[in-house]
């Protein structure tokens, strides 16, 4: 239940928050749905197949509702989910490591998406544009992921919801 609420709220927030942020913001580009994937991973308690399925479906929804690019975000979210699984083997689960993992996830996702779009001829590769895409997404999403971590952690303690530490 906590997982579903976290994902749905983040998905809706992604759309709503975009209306408050300048179109070409240099600091506050939202990637809240992707960040929610990072937060919900420990609540799957090693049921990694379910986690990957959820990531794929969420990516597909993101494709249909926000970007009209069926399969691109589906694949991207799946690969990010695998990356998050890998990161969770290296990092423990606390507010600071979640912040650090968020930066790595954003960088990974941006490089991957930009490379795919360049590869399929959507636009010409430009290092500066890619770099802009990465740094403009970090601030807002790291703050969001840390807040979300605090909120979900408190709720999970209160209702004794199990998660990996």
């Amino acid at each position: 239940m906590l997982v579903a609420i976290t994902l749905i709220v983040s998905f809706c927030f992604d759309g709503i928050i975009s209306n408050f942020i300048p179109l070409h913001s240099q600091l506050l580009i939202p990637l809240l749905t992707l960040m929610s994937l990072l937060i919900v991973y420990p609540y799957f308690n090693h049921h990694e197949d379910d986690y990957l399925k959820v990531a794929g479906v969420l990516g597909l929804c993101y494709d249909i509702v926000f970007t009209d690019t069926v399969f691109l975000n589906c694949v991207l979210f799946l690969l990010v989910a695998l990356f998050i699984r890998l990161l969770n083997e290296w990092f423990s689960n606390n507010i600071f490591s979640v912040g650090l993992m968020a930066i790595l996830v954003i960088t990974f996702a941006r490089i991957l998406e930009y490379s795919i779009l360049s590869l399929v001829g959507f636009f010409a590769f430009d290092w500066m544009y890619l770099f802009q895409g990465i740094y403009s997404s970090i601030l807002l999403n790291v703050i969001y992921v840390m807040l979300l971590y605090v909120v979900t952690d408190k709720i999970s303690r209160k209702f004794h919801i199990r998660k990996i530490d």
């Binding site: 209306n19 300048p22 070409h24 509702v65 926000f66 690019t69 399969f71 795919i116 959507f122 636009f123």
Partner: protein
């Protein structure tokens, strides 16, 4: 045993490479071609955006109140500026009526039913702004149910912003002129005295909010501040919609053609309400 494992590994790599190639091909097809949304996509998109719209209403109410308060702060200055503009508008109105009359009589003489500039207007609210970052699109709350069709031009009061690329029943996606997409080029004209210089709007720079116009003959002097509008030819944009003003003129590396830097008349960072232009059918 060892050789069997080695073979298995090779097969996995081969299958992985095939799957990756197929996926890339599929993504290339989806991203670069003009496909229409399937009924399932339309249904999911409309439902989720409706939920999001309902959730956004209380926040929108507060946001509108804050904007209203900020606008009230410099009300007197705005009133003075508008007073000046009203006087100018009277003159323009009179001129417009005269031109309309002339146009009508000319059309009657030539038995024309439709011109490039005849359009209907449909207002829409922006629901999402550029999610996905690279695509430079916005989602608006009008769709095929409201008569929106693919490739219809979209403007704001300051000028042209883009065109409709995807249409669902109650929402549409608008690709902005700021898009890096190599296929996103429109033809424009620059007013130089009584003449027009034609070119192609090709690139956009975020810094300075400027477009690049290419394909201009080298023998024409273009002064800074010249008005740039759409041509109404070749694409779906009607003639005479404001794009911006000339900022700088540069000659290309081979001294063959000019490249014009145009400051956009639209603030792309703050798009809340837009207007879709529907071209009137012939004999209407």
């Amino acid at each position: 045993m060892y050789s069997q494992k080695k073979m298995d590994k090779k097969y996995y790599i081969l299958i992985g490479a095939i799957v990756a190639a197929v996926l890339l091909g599929l993504i290339a097809h989806i991203v670069t071609t003009d496909r229409t949304l399937t009924p399932i996509e339309k249904a999911i998109k409309d439902t989720v955006l409706l939920v999001q719209k309902v959730a956004y209403q209380p926040i929108k109410f507060v946001k509108d109140k804050v904007v209203e308060y900020q606008e009230k702060q410099d009300l007197y200055e705005k009133y003075k500026t508008l007073q000046k503009k009203v006087k100018e508008t009277d003159l323009i109105q009179a001129e417009k009526k005269e031109l309309e009359h002339q146009l009508k009589s000319m059309k009657e003489t030539l038995e024309l039913n439709n011109t490039l500039v005849e359009t209907e207007y449909l207002n829409a609210t922006v629901v999402n702004r550029n999610l996905g970052y690279w695509y430079n699109t916005i989602t608006i709350d009008k769709g095929s149910h409201n008569g929106v069709e693919k490739d219809m031009p979209v403007i704001v009061s300051d000028g042209v912003i883009g065109k409709v690329t995807k249409v669902s029943n109650f929402n549409s996606t608008v690709k902005l002129l700021t898009s890096e997409d190599v296929n996103n080029k429109i033809s424009v004209k620059i007013a130089v005295g009584d003449k027009y210089v034609y070119g192609l709007l090709s690139g956009y720079k975020r810094k300075g909010n400027t477009f690049t116009v290419e394909g201009i003959a080298d023998n024409i002097e273009i002064p800074a501040g010249s008005i740039v509008t759409t041509t109404g030819m070749g694409d779906n944009f009607p003639s005479g919609i404001m794009v911006g003003k000339v900022k700088k003129v540069k000659t290309d590396n081979f001294d063959l053609a000019k490249t014009v830097e145009v400051t956009s008349s639209v603030d792309f960072d703050d798009l809340n309400y837009v207007t879709i232009l529907k071209r009137k059918e012939a004999n209407q």
